[in-house]
Amino acid sequence: MINRLRQDLIRSYLDCDREGVHQVFAQAAAAGVGLATFATKVIEPSFETLGELWSRGEVALTQVFVAARAVDLEVAAVEARAAPLPSDAPKVVLGTLIDAHGLGARLLSVFLRMAGLQAVEIGSRLTPEELVDRALREQPQVVAVSCLMLHSAYRMREVSQLLQERAPGVRLVVGGAPFRIDHTLADRVGAESWAPDVISGVSVIKSLAAPRAAG
């Protein structure tokens, strides 16, 4: 049952089939599979498969978008009827520096939640100061910052410096198109970690959050 649900879910992602995702959730509910089990046994592994396909260049952003959007809507609908997912997990804050395009942070927050982390979105078009102010209010273990434009990527250095000054234990991970095109850029702007895409961002962030979660 679980295997079939997972396979159907992956097929729906690849077909950009929003209704197919809904059907998988409906089948799980009809079979009495709880949300926590469904998240760990079906959704998270399905996203891992999507990530493997992405790393091989075999899926497009549109497929990732529909997967995240459809799963997000379905989980929200289930949570509206039942208890939400556990919230004592490591906390990640996500924001978009300068740019209006907050899609990367939006998608990543869905994948993080399905991987069992707390993900708090703090918005887009943020200056480095606004971003760090809002982020630290949430007392996160990890701050994940994305951007689209090169000039925004250069300002990541200010985020890094502010975090070092004000919360040296908080880890910074960056992402977005400029970092994917030039793999030396993250280092040049002082970021300690970067992720090439939202799915691999989950494993990068989990590894950064893990020591704190254990401690």
Binding site: C16, R18, G57, A60, L61, T62, Q63, F65, V66, R69, I98, D99, A100, H101, G102, L103, R106, R125, M149, L150, H151, S152, Y154, A177, P178, I181, D182, T184, L185, R188
Partner: protein, 345 residues
Amino acid sequence: MNAYQRVVAALTGREPDRVPVLLLMPTQGAGELGLPLPTYLGDPEAMAEGQLRLQARYGHDCLYAFSYGAAEAEAFGASVEYHPTGSPVVSEPPFGIQEVGRITPPDPHRCPALVRTLRLIELLAAEDKGRLPILANVVAPPSLPVMLLGMEAWLELLLLGDAGRRDQVLEVCRAFTLAWGRAQVQAGADALGYFDPLASPEITTPAQFARFHLQTMRLVAEQVGAPLLLCTAGARNLQLLPAARETGMAGILASAAESLADYKQQADGKLAVAGNLNNIGMAAWTPAQASQEVRSCLAAGAPGGGYLLCDQHGEIPTETPAAVLEAIMQTAQQYGRYPLHQEGR
């Protein structure tokens, strides 16, 4: 052979006297003239002077009649904002997803930002038409709504939303892109970059490409009145090469993440290939690195002709050192001459 003839030869798959070099610098003219970027981009006379000075300084083979991409969104009512470095960007998408019914194609001749670009083209054409090719750009209709609605809202409408509203947006953007492209050609542009980043297989599946991009690409290529160069703003696009050929594009701008040799092989002399210097990376290059990168591009791209050396995106960042640009040009002049020497192979 002058620069115009050199570029035409390469765009039509032939070997010119040497590989043409397109240094695509929309912002650097401000520095040449000592002007703040907003002042520069707001003044077509200054932009024309900037392009001419840049060309005189580096000796590359084009004039770039492009101010900034967000100007097209301004035509639809968007406002733009400037940052300390780089081109201005859309402040906020001008339309929400519920407002798409009231989007209509604006007249390019009534938008100040686009009128400035048209004036820039006219000034460059008056100065150098036929000696230096004048390159301009259009954003492709399926990618333009990213600036009008925002990426997330556009993907939501495109993939999950109401088909009637989606098609309406695409139709409005098709009408605008054609009008804007034709206006630039009429003003004197010799070739246009066709910017369709959403078409990249990194973003769009082959089925979605066939459904939303292919016919529009063909329509614009057939009707705009100038050769088009397919650009995906640095995203992978080798997979789109057959479609670019089939739809009548003159060339494709290769991404730095893919092999220029693969592009050349697939183009098979029937489509020009441009690229693929890493525009993000070049800001940190030394002149020696730049020279090495150029030699790699020439080795893969130059044999057989039909190749133009430029960056992978269509925009060299403002902060790229002049010494790097000089090294690019000098290396191309030394190793890019036809018939190619052994070193260039």
